[in-house]
């Protein structure tokens, strides 16, 4: 005989103002199988929880129904309370009478009747519930960090310093990411490279960090605590063990006119020799002089040896015989227990409409058609001491100093028609910094900034933009630019100043477009490989926007930095440290306890073995790859049949397999057929009971 306890929460006014909790408690008290029923103002408070615990002991309850808010909110709270009182936590369930009832209804009488029905259904379920025991899985005490930008570097260092091994994978030849390309950073104007390179070196030297550069994550198998990652190491054509990083190969390489990714494709005429352009890289190259590892790779698409079969200069000049033209791509696997994804962002290319976004783009801004129209990252390279001009602001068209520079905010951001709906978040600040640094370098220059709003939320951020306007005299014009076109050797920027309600035309010598921050072009494929969710803009989706901001929906995988949404450096670093602490916390345990609400495939004694007949439809519907194939053999080792098996480490208990199993061979523990039928069968019986209780 069941002895169920019913605990009805008022949630202050949230439930109490609509649902008559006292009447509900009285009605439920007479429900068959209910041994105790009460209501209380705040059930989740300490006294509320004690009420539950005390009732379990006093009334020898065999099950508990807490009717309050969503189980997503407080199920763990009440299950813990039940466990404290000696009850198996899976005999405690919640009836959601807040989100599903009081918040969405006004009619008190009807809402009360609905609440009573919801509670009753849950009582019927709990009657059919069975005790479940948590699942224990072992943990590999190593972490994988994907992406070696500032977020990945920070996460790797934090995890390694917490005492766990880290495998750091970066697809470029060097770690450092976008931050290494930046000039000085807002709001304190520290030199980006000066603060980043020590961290990069620390990564390289850390005994607990294993660094794979020029490598990509090919596949991730397994589950929380027990991942196996396949890493594809691209052919570097340079033996990293033999190479000393002397740079002789780069000096002698005859392929010298290749656009540099590190310089964001920016080329500027050399002011001393205008026929020569600065900003190229060679075919054998390191992205920057501060590269980590400081060992080059050969870009085979541009290398004369690979393209034409002759040259071989680098091999001739290499003093340590490190050049290896025969090197091939290799794959390695590593076992890890946790994963931090820190794959960063890209700046949107507005030169033409992207293939998957027809008729978008900003052709009217002329990016890609005129050398003096550049994007924010290219301006960073112009300002940077490590850039093509060694930090001198010069026009890409003629190598002269621009006396008027126009900055455009929100090119593609906050633009429902032509770009992305979201705010790219960092542009207001970096444009303000650009204008300030420009003025510091070109004293007689004038900067203009067309903006929508100045979004300078952050510690000392607003003060920073004020300085740009008030001290450095940047003219801020609130409005959009409609068109940019050349007139003579100047660029005409036509726009609106909506504050003075005037059309504005500025003759500029350089135009900088703050193009939108977008997800990596292959973010979708990576997300699918890792089985993590992503949003409409292909940024990775966190488990909860407020309370679980660095966790993915997939257990054991965490996010750091701009792969989850546009972020500046401090935010990326903070998120990286948060992700690292989550990962380290996971790795600190010897064993992992998981929710037992998972699917289970039917097993029976011979000659049945299992009613699963091996159609593996479940394998196709499982979003988490948790279905495995198990061969059932007799004593002689003869194969009887192949059936499905659930990997309990991977299963999240979503129930898709159970719902789609034609043989009804899969059960979701905690939500089995008997439990659900008990709920369904109880619907309607309700009515009579509620009416009888109506005064």
């Amino acid at each position: 005989m069941s002895r169920i306890g019913v605990f009805i929460c008022h949630c202050g006014e949230n439930i109490g103002s609509v649902v008559d909790c006292e009447r509900a408690a009285k009605t439920l008290a007479s429900h068959p199988g209910v041994a105790y029923s009460t209501d209380y103002k705040y059930m989740c408070s300490d006294p509320g929880q004690n009420l539950v615990k005390k009732a379990i002991a006093d009334h020898k309850l065999t099950g508990v129904v807490v009717s309050a808010c969503s189980p997503r909110m407080h199920e763990p709270t009440f299950r813990n309370a039940a466990a404290d009182a000696g009850l198996n936590p899976y005999l405690c369930e919640m009836a959601n009478i807040r989100e599903h009832c009081s918040w969405v209804h006004e009619d008190k009488e009807a809402a009360t009747r609905k609440a009573i029905e919801l509670i009753r259904l849950m009582v019927e379920k709990v009657k059919a519930n069975e005790e479940l025991q948590p699942i224990h899985v072992p943990i590999t005490k190593r972490a994988l960090v994907i992406g070696g930008g500032i977020a990945g570097i920070q996460a790797a260092l934090d995890i390694a310093n917490a005492g766990h091994e880290v495998v750091l994978v970066e697809r470029e030849p060097s770690i450092g990411g976008h931050m290494l390309q930046l000039s000085e950073t807002f709001p304190t104007l520290d030199c980006s490279q000066c603060i980043l390179t020590p961290r990069m070196v620390e990564v390289a030297r850390h005994p607990k960090i294993k660094l794979y550069t020029y490598s990509e994550v090919e596949a991730l198998d397994g589950y929380i605590g027990n991942f196996e990652v396949t890493i594809r190491m691209k052919a570097r054509s340079v033996d990293i063990e033999k190479c000393t990083g002397c740079g002789a190969c780069m000096q002698k390489c005859p392929s010298r006119k290749i656009l540099s990714e590190f310089n964001a494709g920016l080329l500027v005429p050399d002011p001393e020799n205008p026929k020569k352009k600065l900003g190229y890289r060679t075919a054998i190259y390191t992205p920057s002089p501060q590269a980590v590892p400081n060992k080059p790779v050969i870009d085979r698409e541009h290398c004369l040896y690979f393209q034409k079969g002759k040259c071989g200069v680098c091999a001739k000049v290499c003093p340590t015989d490190a050049i290896d033209y025969t090197q091939e791509e290799t794959t390695v696997t590593e076992k890890v227990g946790a994963v931090v994804v820190a794959t960063g962002y890209q700046v949107w290319s507005v030169a033409k409409a992207a293939e998957d976004y027809p008729y978008l783009g900003y052709g009217e801004y002329g990016y890609g058609t005129h050398p003096d129209i550049i994007d924010g990252l290219q301006f960073e390279r112009l300002l940077s001491a490590s850039g093509p001009t060694s930090g001198r602001v010069l026009r890409p068209s003629n190598g002269k100093e621009p006396k008027t520079v126009v900055f455009l905010s929100c090119v593609g951001s906050r633009d429902n028609e032509k770009g992305f709906t979201y705010c790219s978040k960092i542009c207001c600040m970096y444009l303000s910094k650009h204008a300030m640094l420009y003025k510091h370098k070109v004293h007689d220059g004038q900067a203009y900034n067309f903006y929508m709003d100045i979004r300078a939320g952050g510690k000392t951020y607003d003060e920073f933009t004020r300085r740009t306007i008030e001290e450095d005299g940047c003219i801020y014009l609130r409005g959009r630019v409609s068109r940019i076109f050349p007139r003579g050797d100047k660029l005409v920027v036509q726009g609106a100043d909506t504050l003075s309600n005037a059309q504005v035309e500025v003759e500029a010598e350089l135009v900088v477009l703050a193009t939108a921050i977008t997800a990596q072009p292959d973010a979708e494929q990576l997300a699918q490989r890792l089985r993590v969710a992503y949003d409409k803009d292909r940024f990775f989706s966190e488990a909860h926007p407020k309370l679980r901001p660095v966790e993915s929906q997939t257990a054991g995988i965490f996010f750091a930095g701009a792969c989850q949404g546009p972020k500046d450096i401090p935010e990326s670093v903070a998120q990286a440290s948060a992700a690292a602490s989550k990962a380290a916390g996971l790795l600190n345990a010897d064993e992992l306890e998981r929710e037992p609400v998972v699917a289970q495939v039917h097993r029976a004694a011979p000659p049945v073995y299992s009613i699963c007949f091996g159609c593996f439809f479940c394998e196709r519907v499982c979003p988490y790859g948790a279905i495995e194939r198990e061969e059932i053999r007799d004593r002689g080792g003869n194969l009887i049949k192949t059936v499905a098996r659930v990997n309990e480490g991977l299963c999240t208990g979503c129930g898709l397999c159970a719902a789609s199993c034609r043989a009804n061979a899969i059960t979701l523990r905690g939500f089995n057929d008997e439990q659900l039928f008990a709920v369904v069968n109880a619907i309607g019986e309700e009515q009579e009971e509620s009416k009888a209780a109506t005064p």
């Binding site: 008729y359 009217e364 007139r487």
Partner: protein
């Protein structure tokens, strides 16, 4: 399949751009495209109609589309982009909203099953570009021209769903097929002043001055258009426009319809394309387009510096 043809008022009813209608029909005939004028078509409601009553404009256009449908026509060519825009807008609205469709059907006293597809001339010729290539590829000399789309060919982008709304390239592509050399320029979709030509001629002079100035700056020797309004404004006010732009006393810039250009490439006689009715006399450029007097052969490449 027979092409539906909706000439609208400018090409047919009054004379402002009779030459656009004449040349379009001549070109369609020469290309062997069977077309049928929509029987008993009415005004598209542009300007006056859509400014005062959207339900009226919708009903007017739904009637035209329903007439086309009833005549068994699917693709409806509306060479004037004002008409094309009104037809496309109404078509999209009634496709998505059953209530609006019912209202419009009641007002038009016709049933419309939403099968018609309105198209501008640029849009239609771009879809038929393989045919154009087959018949007229490289038939014209590489004279630099500026393709001017005006405001409505690609806009509103949702309704037209065609080309890049701000920096279109389809007309350039067509001209390039014919052998012309379309210039890269900045004012492809800037406003010409449209209907303000009657009430605010000074504004129109300023706007057309900017467009013509940008075209000549880019080295264009003619402007190619596909809109009666654009043609009228650019062709008619070149004196005032030049004065306003501070670029001499006149631009002397020939403004030629895309249909006329294509007609020349197809070997149609200038008179049959109504090329003699423009304000700015295009006979020089027409002669050069037709290869008479003989074209100057491109000079030998300058000797390399040694």
């Amino acid at each position: 399949m027979t092409l539906g043809y909706y000439p609208g008022c400018a090409l047919k009813a009054h004379a402002t751009s009779l030459e656009y209608g004449i040349s379009t029909e001549a070109v369609l005939a020469e290309l062997g495209i069977e077309f049928q004028e929509i029987p008993d078509w009415n005004c598209c409601g542009a300007s006056a109609g859509h400014m005062t009553n959207s339900a009226l404009t919708r009903a007017l256009n739904v009637r035209n589309l329903a007439l086309a449908e009833a005549a068994g026509l699917t693709d409806v060519l509306a060479p004037c982009p004002l008409c094309a825009k009104e037809l496309a807008l109404a078509n999209n609205e009634v496709k998505e909203d059953a209530e609006l469709l019912e209202q419009a059907q009641d007002a038009a006293e016709m049933v419309y099953k939403c099968t018609a597809r309105p198209l501008t001339l640029v849009q239609y010729l771009h879809e038929q570009r393989d045919l154009v290539r087959e018949r007229a590829a490289g038939k014209l000399p590489d004279i630099p021209v500026a393709c001017y789309y005006g405001c409505l060919h690609t806009r509103p982008p949702d309704a037209m769903g065609f080309d890049d709304a701000e920096q279109p390239t389809t007309m350039d592509e067509l001209c390039r097929i014919l052998g012309l050399q379309p210039v890269e320029w900045s004012h492809k979709t800037e406003c010409c002043g449209a209907g303000f030509t009657m009430s605010k001629p000074d504004v129109v002079a300023r706007l057309t001055g900017r467009i013509l100035g940008a075209a000549s700056l880019a080295g264009a020797e003619a402007v190619v258009v596909a809109c009666p309004m654009c043609h009228a404004n650019l062709d008619m006010r070149q004196g005032e426009a030049a004065a306003d732009a501070g670029l001499g006393d006149d631009f002397h810039m020939p403004i030629i319809y895309l249909a006329q250009i294509l007609g020349l490439a197809l070997g149609i006689a200038p008179d049959d394309l109504s090329l003699g009715t423009h304000f700015v006399d295009p006979s020089d450029i027409v002669a050069r387009l037709r290869g008479e007097p003989p074209l100057e052969t491109p000079g030998d490449e300058a000797p390399e510096e040694k």
